[in-house]
């Protein structure tokens, strides 16, 4: 997919070059533009308009000059910010890579101590004025030697002298035909004279430049880099950059080959055939390395990574097909999803043929809100159509708002909120959630949604303390809504139907319990629902300070065996019997009915569901006082 991106990026930059520089950031330091035709004194006359200081706050930025420096800096900087790609090797003191610019860290040559006051280690890191001039001289010699290095990219395989000569001839012909600008630059007298003049200018004026820089530093502190550019057309910078980049863009030039009119090679960045990782090389294939790109493609790839970096790392970014470089997400076509790691390597990518916005979603939902006036919780039916809103609900009620930042690709650690079980659930299901909530594809979540949400709710029940029931009930309604949305049925019943059925069960049972006549259970479903209700009521009698919902576990575990279930209920009744009033008729009727009922059929999935719903939903036995009953308060 990086190839697809690279192709699109190349096309976009061809149409609009500003894409390249819109996201380009200058490093901290002072940027100076000098005219080498003028003397230092003449340059000094107009210097106030020829430099900018880039600091963290960008206070001293001259905007128009800054834009110019962005371009010049781009064409004069080391590839990938890698010291291995410098021209000044092995010294690594001069960071620029063309004769048209001079980059150096300010602490390397703007010295505030005398040589005698420095330790040997400190002296190694710096250049004293004489050393500096010598170093500049050597740097320009290296540049001259470096110039024709691109010829080495042409593989010379012959061993015999005659064959070798033939290949060298073919090489020269290849470069003359396909890279005429590089070949002509080698012997261009204008270029050579210009480079010579710039070198001379730097060496002759370095002492004064240092004095001026020190004066500026005292007035307006700058740090990190001193970057001096010479005022020549941008095209000259481009040409010098090309001479450099052709030789340094590939990871290892040994894998370069000729493909028609192009040099192709293994690109740098997110691609390695590192000696420490020999398995990355294709050891038993003729091709040896996974990929070969042309110089232009390799440069575009490098720029693309910078562009991707500018959108942030770790978080999964989405890019539409058609509007890749404008980030307009309205497109009704495919989408790319991508995230970068700290070192800008790709750690997640996907190519999806549709846009989540095109795919409608409808989740029937029952929202529970606290009514301050009535001092009670109220349930309202609603429907969720927006995936972002749905993500909010899922994150809040299933995952306790722990799906933050790089939750898709990052590490999920156990903490005060995330239990080991919840961690395991997140790791198992995060890709499926992402596919559903962000990409619009339900194929991964559908087969697991029933088991997954049940596990989540069970975990919430086990880990929540007294008072968390509303949250769990809300999560339960979300489960039913998701089952409905994904067309997953429980014993032929859709999630929304179960929600309605629960209301019906509650109201019918409530009505029957209110009639002081003999109460009888109508069917198996009501039995399980009522068993859930009784379980919660009994557990709620506990006076433990930090009562957890783990109290329900024995009853929940027995749901598949009605007799065992009744035994567990009886156990609970015995434990908390001292809190139960003998004349609380609603409870007495319901308890007697449950204990006296034997289900006709084997426990179904829906029965288990109703038991859970009974446990979590509004409790019939905490209903406020009717005429003859004692007052009970909802928890």
């Amino acid at each position: 997919m990086i190839m697809d991106f690279t192709k699109m990026y190349q096309e976009a930059v061809k149409k609009n070059q500003s894409i390249l520089f819109d996201t380009y950031k200058l490093k901290r330091g002072i940027y100076i533009l000098l005219d080498y035709h003028k003397t230092w004194e003449q340059n000094l006359d107009s210097i106030e308009n020829s430099y900018v200081i880039i600091d963290r706050t960008e206070t001293y930025v001259n905007k128009s000059l800054q834009e110019k420096f962005k371009k010049l800096d781009y064409y004069s900087s080391v590839l990938f910010d890698s010291s291995n790609k410098m021209v000044d090797l092995p010294g690594r003191k001069i960071h620029s890579i063309t004769p048209l610019a001079f980059f150096m860290k300010e602490q390397t040559f703007l010295l505030d101590k005398k040589k005698e006051d420095m330790s040997a280690a400190e002296q190694k890191k710096v250049l004293f004025p004489d050393e500096l001039k010598k170093h500049i001289e050597e740097f320009y010699q290296k540049l001259e030697q470096f110039d024709d290095g691109f010829l080495n990219l042409y593989p010379i395989t012959a061993h015999k002298k005659k064959d070798k000569q033939q290949q060298l001839k073919e090489r020269d012909q290849f470069f003359t035909e396909n890279y005429p600008d590089l070949v002509s630059a080698l012997k261009d007298p204008v270029r050579l004279n210009r480079n010579h003049d710039i070198r001379k200018y730097l060496i002759e004026n370095m002492d004064q430049i240092i004095l001026w820089l020190k004066a500026i530093k005292e007035r307006t502190n700058f740090s990190n880099y001193v970057k001096i550019f010479f005022d020549v057309p941008v095209e000259d910078y481009q040409q010098e950059y090309k001479l450099y980049v052709v030789q340094k863009i590939y990871t290892v030039n040994d894998y370069c080959a000729i493909d028609g009119s192009n040099i192709v090679g293994l690109p740098s960045g997110d691609m390695t055939v590192n000696g420490k990782k020999p398995y990355l090389k294709h050891r038993t294939m003729r091709t040896e390395v996974p990929l070969r790109l042309s110089v232009d493609e390799a440069i575009a790839r490098k720029d693309l990574y910078k562009w991707l970096e500018s959108h942030g790392k770790f978080i999964t970014q989405k890019y539409s097909y058609q509007e890749l470089l404008k980030q307009d997400l309205r497109s009704e076509e495919g989408m790319y999803y991508l995230s970068l790691d700290t070192d800008s390597s790709v750690i997640y990518l996907d190519n999806v043929p549709f846009n989540a916005r095109q795919r409608k979603v409808r989740v029937p939902f029952r929202e529970i809100q606290y009514n301050k006036e009535l001092k009670t919780y109220q349930e309202t039916d609603k429907e969720i159509y927006d995936r972002a809103e749905l993500f909010g609900w899922v994150n809040r009620f299933f995952f306790k708002n722990q799906l933050q930042g790089s939750w898709l690709t990052g590490e999920i650690s156990v903490n005060q909120v995330i239990t080991p079980t919840l961690q395991s659930i997140i790791l198992q299901s995060r890709q499926a959630w992402f596919d559903f909530l962000f990409k619009g594809s339900a194929s991964a979540i559908r087969p697991m949604i029933n088991r997954l949400t049940l596990e989540l709710i069970t975990e919430l029940i086990v880990t929540s303390e007294r008072g968390g029931r509303t949250q769990i009930l809300q999560a339960y309604y979300l489960r039913l809504g998701l089952l409905d949305c994904l067309d997953v049925k429980i014993d032929e019943m859709k999630g929304e139907d179960i929600m309605d059925y629960l209301s019906e069960l509650y109201h019918n049972t409530d009505h029957d319990l209110d009639n002081n006549n003999f109460f009888a259970i109508e069917n198996d479903r009501q039995f399980y629902y009522l068993a859930g209700q009784l379980t919660y009521y009994l557990a709620a009698q506990s006076e433990a300070a930090n009562m957890t919902h783990d109290l329900y576990r024995p009853v929940m575990m027995a749901v598949g065996n009605p007799e065992k279930l009744k035994e567990q209920l009886e156990e609970m009744r015995k434990i908390y019997g001292y809190r139960l009033r003998h004349n609380y008729q609603r409870f007495n009727y319901a308890y007697a009915a449950v204990m006296g009922y034997s289900p006709d059929e084997k426990t179904t999935q829906l029965d288990k569901e109703l038991m859970l719903a009974g446990l979590l939903s509004a409790n019939l036995f905490f209903k406020k006082k009717t005429k003859n009953d004692e007052k009970e308060i909802d928890v």
Partner: protein
């Protein structure tokens, strides 16, 4: 009417991994679909053709020559025309990143001996594959391929990208394909067609929405160094308003297929 004999079968599996060569530093990613060269490799395994290792050994023994220019499977099958019809969710298969260890240090030569591999796998991939008989290809090879597929015979075990993912080849059949001129939709993967115009005003198919997929995928091997050459492969359910005349499509089992 131009008709072609066509062998069709369902190709599926629990997982698949067709490694993309464009990044290799932390996680290995997969193409969204099986690409032509991987498919030819799978067919080559059915017929017992040699692969990259055999080619490498041949070069080591005899030096580079015309016979070992390509791996044997590619040499024999490169002229085979295929069509790939993806199933899944609008042609999309869910992908998941799997991490596993290879602690056999001598194989990876990883420092410390424990290699941690992270791969993105396709989940439950399913394609219908069509193989077309044509004049460029050796008839005997096609007949052998047809016989092997129809009779469910294979010399080596076919797999989907790597031998962790066994391929299931189901419902093999022989059918006929007819060359068509009027094309209103394309049901298979196709190479990007410059000049194709889609009907922007058409309504999407019932209970569905339009989708469009494209990805650069390998389509042939470089003759000198055998690295992949790429082309953009597309898939869409959009209706076509007009398409350049030179494009070639076949109608097979009611589907409009593009040749890869």
């Amino acid at each position: 009417m131009i008709c072609l004999e066509t062998v069709a079968f369902e190709l599926k599996g629990k997982f698949a991994f067709f490694k993309k060569p464009d990044v290799n530093s932390k996680i290995y990613f997969t193409y969204s679909h099986i690409h032509k060269i991987a498919l030819l490799g799978l067919l080559g395994s059915i017929l017992g053709y040699g692969g990259y290792t055999q080619q490498y050994e041949a070069i080591r023994e005899a030096g580079t020559n015309k016979d070992n220019q390509y791996p044997e499977f590619y040499q024999c099958l490169k002229h085979l025309n295929v069509a790939i019809v993806p199933h899944g969710d609008c042609g999309y298969f869910a992908k998941k990143i799997q991490s596993f260890n290879n602690s056999v240090g001598y194989a990876s030569r990883e420092e410390g001996g424990n290699l941690i591999v992270r791969e993105q796998w396709l989940e439950n991939p399913h394609w219908t594959i069509y193989l077309f008989k044509n004049n460029e290809m050796d008839t005997t090879v096609f007949e052998n391929l047809k016989r092997a597929i129809i009779h469910r015979q294979s010399v080596y075990v076919p797999y989907l990208g790597k031998n962790d993912h066994m391929a299931v080849i189901d419902n093999p059949r022989v059918c006929e394909s007819t060359l068509i001129r009027d094309v209103h939709e394309i049901n298979s993967l196709y190479y990007e067609i410059p000049g194709i115009i889609f009907d922007d005003f058409a309504d999407p198919p019932e209970n569905s929405s339009f989708y469009y997929f494209e990805e650069m995928m390998p389509w042939k091997l470089d003759p000198k160094l055998n690295y992949y050459k790429f082309r953009t492969v597309c898939l869409t359910n959009k209706f076509i308003e007009s398409i350049p005349r030179k494009s070639v499509f076949y109608k097979t089992e009611g589907k409009t297929l593009a040749l890869l």
